[in-house]
Symmetry: none
Subunit: 166 residues, 2 copies
């Protein structure tokens, strides 16, 4: 079973703050939770980061363990380590996917990113980012604007050759 997310999906957020985790993503969370077994609930970690983040990031248990190992190897007390600990441990919550395949996003977190009636999930390697559909569209425009060397109509893969030069 794959351990990486791929794709994106828009889902409804109901009045109780529940969001259905699209089935293809749910399977990744299940496969990447060492304690998961049929009938039980897959665990995951919701990172909401610092004030300026307008998205949430959902990590599988395995991905989170890797990150924590990475942090543990950094010099204790270094500014960088403190920063990472602040984000990934301080501004993170444990959560689980319920029997109906849904995740309940606490009100605080919904408010932080401005979620009301629908949420946009998009894969980011071994995590899933959650945005309001509008915030994501905005982010995507910004992303494109940051790569002026890609002419309209050009194949994005032409960017790969840049890697070998610079």
């Amino acid at each position: 079973m794959a351990r990486r997310f791929r794709g994106s999906e828009e889902v409804k957020v109901d009045a109780k703050g529940r969001v259905s985790i699209p089935a293809k993503f749910r399977r990744i969370f299940e496969a990447s939770d060492p304690d998961f077994e049929a009938g039980k609930r897959a665990q995951l970690v919701i990172v909401h980061g610092t004030r300026d983040w307008n998205w949430l990031q959902l990590f599988t248990i395995e991905a989170m363990e890797e990150i924590e190992d990475g942090i543990a190897r950094m010099p204790r007390g270094s500014a960088a380590r403190n920063l990472l600990e602040n984000i990934y441990q301080g501004h993170a919550d444990e959560a689980e996917i319920d029997g109906d395949g849904r995740l309940v996003l606490p009100q605080k977190l919904r408010e932080k990113i401005g979620l009301t009636d629908s949420a946009f999930f998009i894969s980011a390697g071994d995590s899933l980012k959650v945005w309001t559909p509008e915030a994501h569209a905005e982010e995507e425009r910004a992303l494109e604007a940051r790569v002026p060397e890609l002419e309209p109509g050009a194949d994005p893969l032409s960017l790969l050759s840049l890697a070998e030069e610079g």
Copy 2:
């Protein structure tokens, strides 16, 4: 077995969104899927890209792995890398060719490119592009317009020399 697509084909899209993958293309997908074996289903990746794409791009597993390796070699956090990840990871889906040689295009993707009752497949190296027949005709006209240095009636191969000059 060849690993590159050649040619184009128009096929029907039925009410369930199923499209028959022309046999010559199907064999490429099978040959380029490392885990494929007789009786099993060939895997592939459907990239639908950002808002403005009005086509889908079907990649073999091997082609997609190459792209992902290329992306992985780019500097983490660079604008170009983020853009490519957004397209090829965020706006892509895993899929497979069913026992009847068909691919099911999810409703969302059909709507995105305006697909209704028939689809036009055209080879693009190690991927296959899918358009509505109308959109493809339009694209073909635009393609020519983007290369003004080719005079009407001139041999397109004359363009090859441009590559050497830069």
